[in-house]
Symmetry: C2
Subunit: 453 residues, 2 copies
């Protein structure tokens, strides 16, 4: 009995603003509008229905681009287009199993991994907690499957820092294992939860080091495997993967604009990535970010705001496995990068917004603080030092100030890169508030008085 | 492959605090300990396994009391006891249906409702959005089923305020409908979501007004029913409920203490309610609050803190449908209420903590602000004006300052009083942080230097 019309019901403007009182600050209007209209979640539902799987270079990603173009056009953006980029392609295949010793563990190929020979790779497992331990035990690694079992440190308050502490074993595990003669790598999933889902993500190979297949194992699986190794000393397992790198393919970033009224040649870029890992539907990562940007421009227009500078929405491809979308954007717009006044990225999930991190230096940061007072009143105006985001990082060498939406991060890795990253994991109100925060920050950045160059 | 031992694995103290650096502030130690030990969620799992249904006066609630006593004892609390209270009993029965016109809507009896006659009550439905509309249409109500269909206003940023705006139709709808001659009441569920779950909650009857049966209908059901009424003018439905009030029964509050070291006669009460509505498992409402309090005292003891004042944990009964637990506490401890230096309640779900509301007047609030600096650093130190909570409100006339844990509230009504309020709805990290916030505030309130009388 889902009634879509109710999902997009609009509270009459009069109810929001009252009649006799002065209008509230812009940020408050945007937040109220976002909550009352409640469009963000319906838009995300639309995206994951149109293109649930969005690996860069895949047919699903082509559908996502069509969806994004149509949506931008319907929202009233101008200059809507796909800017072509060539991306590495990779196919997950059908088979990912880790078996032996009477059990089967939950695994998924890491993105970019080569497959195993058809019969799989059978070898004893060497468990390590760090690269240091691997190097110290290098003579035990030859011919083995190396099992990287370092958990994300739960004690860290910021889960992204906990991710940063553990994720090198996923990114570089296959390289480090191959260097000491291992035949495959198994990596504990990057999540603070104990769950039964493998969480995938990209791996790297290095020229001169033989590529070996690598897979993520669920955290419960990792605990169980570690317990077996502790009990038995040696466990021999068979890894079967039929994933494969598949050359390169055509893909693209989707771009649209609200042309500025008074300084249209000055650009504020707001962006997210449209590609996603394929185990779930990329609802948080980064469907939520795409919706933040699209709903932000809808809110800006719906509230009758007409930014002085041009607001350019860029939905990047290939953030997950190569940043080719971001690099392609920087190349294609090389002439125009000096006109980029700011770039804002949202890629931390559809949770309650807290504020922004920024590459601005302290003095510039302090100058921006007063303009964010209305956002701070709403609990979403923090401004701290940070990198902004992966896609927009390509603009940093060109002197563009970067901003990244900060959201409540405790639940992000419950879903990240796993089958759990689906629509139901995203709360309507939290997603809407994130869009309002992006909208309010965009309005500030697009105003030459509030954010002079 | 769930491995419980890993859920309660403890990071060695040395890793948390470093060796050569000075110890961090108490609040930070409590937070790190809470995240590292990760005990809160396992404790909640234990509660909902031992006593998933905890209606005051029910056998399930008796199991919950046994669990709470055993848990408090195991945690090292002193003077652990059940303080008896007599509570109204109510049985939901087996049947709750609203049918007719070829459809069946999702309904659940409101707590305390009488049942219908065995064949149900069949009558045309009168939909209203407010008591004002009901009174204006009083002559249409006689012999009808009144359908209260006022949504929680989505636009309000604070969902508890949105609840407050809509919930009178649940609490008083049966009275107001009966006053104008209606034979039953149907109330739109109190949730900001559109979902298929009825959300229950208590109703009142009034002396001199005939009691009529009343049920909650899911928000999707309410939308569908409203659409039918709009299309057809009249819809006749049959409500069948076999719930019944069942007199009074014995129940009790569960109480335990950490005796104060230097001022043991001064009491800081921290509390939550152990009873819960029965459609789900009361995981957020208020299993999370009970766990906050229990885990808070564990954290205080585990961090080697020995409060000067006595910390008394009270897990109240009958918060949901009468406050008899709270009133019984105030009566039983009448001689001792002047010794209550503060009371803290947590009953807003197991979400990320933000701070506290308090009945303290502004000057006293301002004096407390410096002591909360370490909590503010952690994003959980807000101190705003408010009522604290329903159970501790009975202490307000006795001059006891009240404090209520404030948490992120956007998701609360997704689960509240419905079948969705189960363990999986509560995030491990958010729950643990809430417990740390309660622990840190308790440490402040139990310190005569930081919080003088």
């Amino acid at each position: 009995m889902l009634i879509l019309s109710a999902l997009v019901a609009v509270v009459p403007q009069g109810e929001l603003e009252g009649d006799a009182t002065p209008p509230p600050p812009v940020a408050e209007r945007l937040v109220e509008r976002a909550l009352a209209d409640n469009r963000a979640h319906a838009l995300l539902a639309d995206l994951v229905a149109a293109a649930p799987q969005r690996l860069a270079g895949s047919p699903g990603m082509a559908r996502a681009r069509e969806w994004a173009k149509a949506t931008m056009t319907a929202l009233g953006l101008e200059n809507v287009r796909v800017e072509p980029v060539t991306v590495p392609r990779w196919e997950r295949g059908e088979t990912a199993t880790l078996t032996g010793d009477g059990v089967r563990f939950d695994v998924a190929a890491l993105g970019g991994s080569i497959g195993t020979p058809e019969g799989g790779i059978t070898a004893p497992v060497l468990m390590v907690r760090s690269f240091e331990e691997l190097r110290a035990r290098a003579d035990e690694a030859k011919g083995r499957i190396v099992f990287f079992n370092r958990p994300m440190p739960r004690v860290l308050r910021n889960t992204f820092r906990a991710y940063g502490a553990a994720v090198p074993q996923r990114g570089n595990g296959a390289i480090e294992a191959a260097k000491v003669g291992a035949v495959a790598a198994i990596v504990r999933s990057m999540t603070t939860l104990l769950d039964d889902l493998p969480h995938t993500g990209t791996l790297r190979y290095e020229d001169g080091v033989p590529p070996i297949p690598a897979a993520a194992i669920s955290t419960n699986g990792a605990e169980a495997l570690a317990a077996r190794i502790a009990e038995q000393g040696t466990v021999e397992l068979t890894l079967r993967l039929d994933c494969r790198p598949a050359g390169e393919g055509r893909c693209g970033n989707v771009v649209g604009e609200i042309r500025g009224t008074r300084a249209p040649e000055e650009i504020v870029l707001i962006g997210a990535h449209l590609d996603a890992w394929d185990l779930g539907h990329g609802a948080h990562d980064d469907g939520a970010g795409c919706v933040h940007c699209l709903e932000a421009v809808r809110l800006i227009l719906a509230c009758g705001l007409r930014p002085a500078r041009t607001v350019r929405v860029v939905l990047f491809t290939n953030e997950e496995n190569g940043l080719r979308g971001a690099r392609g954007y920087a190349e294609a717009h090389a002439d125009e990068l000096a006109a980029h006044v700011a770039a804002l990225e949202t890629d931390r999930g559809g949770f309650e917004p807290k504020g922004f991190d920024t590459t601005l230096e302290e003095a510039a940061r302090r100058r921006l603080v007063p303009a964010l007072a209305p956002l701070r009143e709403l609990g979403m105006g923090a401004l701290i030092e940070g990198g902004g985001g992966a896609d927009i990082s390509v603009l940093r060498p060109h002197g563009v100030p970067l901003f990244g939406l900060i959201v409540a991060d405790h639940r992000y890795f419950d879903f990240h890169h796993s089958a759990a990253d689906v629509l139901g994991a995203v709360n309507e109100r939290e997603l809407a508030l994130g869009a309002a925060a992006v909208a309010a920050m965009t309005v500030v950045l697009a105003d030459p008085e509030l954010f002079p160059r």
